[in-house]
Symmetry: D2
Subunit: 337 residues, 4 copies
Amino acid sequence: MVVILKENPEEKQLQNLMNWLSAQGLEINVCKGQHQTILGLIGDTAGVDIELIKALDIVDEVKRVQEPYKNANRKFHPDDTVVEVGGVKIGGGNFQLIAGPCSVESEEQVCGIAEAVKAAGAGLLRGGAFKPRTSPYAFQGLRGDGITLLLEARERTGLPIVTEIMDISQLPLFEEVDVIQVGARNMQNFELLKALGHVEKPILLKRGLANTLQELLMSAEYIMAGGNSNVILCERGIRTFETATRNTLDLSAVPVLKSRSHLPVIVDPSHGTGHRELVAPMALAAAAAGADGLIIEVHNDPAHALCDGPQSLTPEQFANLAARIKAVRAAALGGEL
Amino acid sequence: MVVILKENPEEKQLQNLMNWLSAQGLEINVCKGQHQTILGLIGDTAGVDIELIKALDIVDEVKRVQEPYKNANRKFHPDDTVVEVGGVKIGGGNFQLIAGPCSVESEEQVCGIAEAVKAAGAGLLRGGAFKPRTSPYAFQGLRGDGITLLLEARERTGLPIVTEIMDISQLPLFEEVDVIQVGARNMQNFELLKALGHVEKPILLKRGLANTLQELLMSAEYIMAGGNSNVILCERGIRTFETATRNTLDLSAVPVLKSRSHLPVIVDPSHGTGHRELVAPMALAAAAAGADGLIIEVHNDPAHALCDGPQSLTPEQFANLAARIKAVRAAALGGEL
Amino acid sequence: MVVILKENPEEKQLQNLMNWLSAQGLEINVCKGQHQTILGLIGDTAGVDIELIKALDIVDEVKRVQEPYKNANRKFHPDDTVVEVGGVKIGGGNFQLIAGPCSVESEEQVCGIAEAVKAAGAGLLRGGAFKPRTSPYAFQGLRGDGITLLLEARERTGLPIVTEIMDISQLPLFEEVDVIQVGARNMQNFELLKALGHVEKPILLKRGLANTLQELLMSAEYIMAGGNSNVILCERGIRTFETATRNTLDLSAVPVLKSRSHLPVIVDPSHGTGHRELVAPMALAAAAAGADGLIIEVHNDPAHALCDGPQSLTPEQFANLAARIKAVRAAALGGEL
Amino acid sequence: MVVILKENPEEKQLQNLMNWLSAQGLEINVCKGQHQTILGLIGDTAGVDIELIKALDIVDEVKRVQEPYKNANRKFHPDDTVVEVGGVKIGGGNFQLIAGPCSVESEEQVCGIAEAVKAAGAGLLRGGAFKPRTSPYAFQGLRGDGITLLLEARERTGLPIVTEIMDISQLPLFEEVDVIQVGARNMQNFELLKALGHVEKPILLKRGLANTLQELLMSAEYIMAGGNSNVILCERGIRTFETATRNTLDLSAVPVLKSRSHLPVIVDPSHGTGHRELVAPMALAAAAAGADGLIIEVHNDPAHALCDGPQSLTPEQFANLAARIKAVRAAALGGEL
């Protein structure tokens, strides 16, 4: 950590600061220039509250040098984490397609899609039971009944299921769920993250619309600090000025996250783009960029099109895409740069 | 609502769409051009799911004409809502300063600050008991004990208290709290919003870092749809590429929200800027722009500066500012444009 | 175009507007609702000034339905444009690697790199002669001398050259240049675009840091309206809140631009990410997403590393990457979705 | 400047870097930690190319401590710059209203508005002769003839005129112009900035839509490095995800710029918001925040409303606003915090 002092810092305050920093176990190197003094802090700064130091009158700025996350940090855990669930592995070279409907609507719908995506190569089934909706007047999901239907589909296909939690109070309903998803809007719902740190299930953590990659890793750190190290990171688009796509899918997140962390990284091209036509190119791109998996919306009834999101693929489109993804992954791995 | 169709829409799908729209009680006007057909939908479209229509193969785009919020909409409630709490009014020409420490730390601290800000003209006391922190290793607030200390300060000064809730499960602890704050990171925690719709207390709803003003109004609508119409909207800065300030305080939110909604609108220049030196100019600017109140961080112990945020004012600075805010409000109202 | 009127529009103003719109050759369909009236305008609206209509007191909002660009629009030119230069083709299934140093520094440097990238499969040579720099104190490029060195490198290798223009007054120096690049900061330098409309050379037009894809197409339209239809569009990252990468490379730009326009689309993963380690994954991703080419920085002297950007590859890294890109393109095209 | 090295830097490269830094006249302080080594560089780092250092294999990150601008820096020029033009002063406590039409259209129009805004208290006349337009098919301004009309209006009213330049080649037409405006899209047209450094006229430099405040100051530095120190900075809104306003007017730019620089800072609430109703509240807010002036669009013919931007005020609205702005400034200055 580097602390940049204001010109001519008040001597007594400076002494107080130095004493406080020493008391935190940090070694202080002072670099004195004509106009500026810099304190280089050596030691474990992850627990030091940067805001407290910034608040001091004599401090101009504080810059972190070390990442403030430990459990999620590749520096301290060089090997890839492999998340295992229901006999399926993600990370460490294991790639998975997670596919399924936007919302769970009926047994027929979810089981039909589950069978189709399994046949096309999906390793897990996704489906929304609790649906976060901007409008209180929009369909909020089948909730508990939706989870029951997902479990039914798992029973029939053997695919482990991934579904989103929206509040701690829903946890009891997730007992049989294989992977619990934390949606973008809840990425910094810290009480929920803490609770999920005590759950013995993999957590699929989606990046928030306005959150940096470091904040995503800090949210993973919340879960891991509680004892649950099975976190899957998911890039799903950030909010920018561009309106041609629903969000701006930030694929550089994949190599950045994988270099900083040992956790598996997957991409959601369906919500990240919001347009059916963009799902395939962005899925292929994510695979080429090194993602450990993809989560893709698939619907089963193109005729009765009033039931799915504008970004859902048909099972046929998904099967075609799955084959190409496999080929692209092999080609991209052709040699290491 | 305007539905723009793709060129040469498949006739049967178009008929299905028209039937479905009619079944929703909408009147359809068809504008047929050479390359494009537009459907103008007349009627109550607030409950129509825009995503469902977008998902249709024959639809190019859907544009809303009417706002999707009703309870929060000034069109249907032309008069300003006045929120009353503990004898204090906000909105409809009533301006309030809400001031207090970033975090509640001790009885001495919170009561000292409460007395100081009351003397300077604050109408409500703010203070964080539950603290949302990016890092799991940072101080998370005194939680329940913090609320007890705030109630103690209310007892001593008579100031109603405002403090943040982070999860539904904390609600029982907020029974004596006057105004419940929903922080920026929880603006789209829909389960929490629904729960607050059934509470008989004013809710101070902060705008999320990546949320549009329409989404803020939709979140207010969640609360109001549950029966609680005492919502105070709060602009606190959005996330942009600029790094000179912690966030970009979007003051045009004030006149935009006040024209679209009847709810009171306040501004948080402390978190919106993140720098002590910027709090006063932005507080004055917010008052000039027509805000119904301000929420400002004040700390009481400049010597022991390691305890407060970099954006906190001293009680003296706050008192000086309060006087200027009053003068600016009067000057800005000098005549209506 | 759809014009949404305010409630109870003043009758005379409405009549004036309707007359003016008719005079522009537009057919008007009126959809009257209880609270809102919508005018659906049918006809060629590309030349209609949307700002003028928005300025009217009776108008609430104006929404475009048709794209305001014609020459660049795929609707009117369904076939891919193939740009040909010096025997090399881009677009319509022809993929090109454009590689070379950030700045041209010496004959030895630029010729050495040119030979290396040619051997690795590059079809064009890039190199900066005029350098846009944020600081007036930073190296501004060799300017005219830099172009001479690039021509020398073309002489030796046969590779057509691409280099950036910063001002109309530099045009005479570009007479021998093969492809003129317009940098991100000049994407809306409209006088420059107009001048380039009268040049008989391909223009490589980079997307501005804060520009939408529609604005990029409008800037291409400026060039094409002048008579020069050889425009290559280039995605090179947009500015967002994320700081882990220099910019956020928006790869969905590739399929979006290719669906809206017939012009070739290339990607710059070097400037788009700003980090050497991210160039390869994002180059592979861009190829998988369907880009018609890539522009990549390559330097030749890793020992004397003080001369190139933090995002430059060595010739060896570039050669390895080029081979993988070829394989990824083939794999991604494996079947059409 | 602080250079953060990667773990276990290659010794010879480190020595090369240290030698090179010393050769630049910098003193180097080394802070060695267990995992990281930090170099604190003391001395004049404004001319050091940060990108070159970042490019080194052994370097993890480089962080600036000192601002890279000198001429524009308040640290080296503590007193406010006062720009004088045609008997009018801006900065150092002198506040000016700059008002006029969006585009110059006719003698009658521009002279009529000039007289009206002068009567209401404007100190300078603005008006667009060269108009930057997103579409090549939109009205591009009267160009040279527009400047002639502005000079005519100056002749009649005595108001100095401000108008925008779009290209170096237009400079001869600006000989009689009082203040040359550089628009947002040209803020980083470095060749134009350099040319304006050799002009003996004040330059009104608008912030780019995606530019940080530091970049704005660097662009001012370009002009000042050429010898022209009469630069007026102008905040006019940045591009964000919010769509309720045309841009997000960043009023914290005012106190931030004024603390970092001695140059006058003005605000453009017309283009910053894009809506007539928002101009007054944001103008008042800008004045309260400490701006040295405002630039506001005024049109003269509300009946023939098809000629002005949706953000233009009538002369009456402007006169009312001018009076309130004066009162707000006085109130805001009531006491220094």
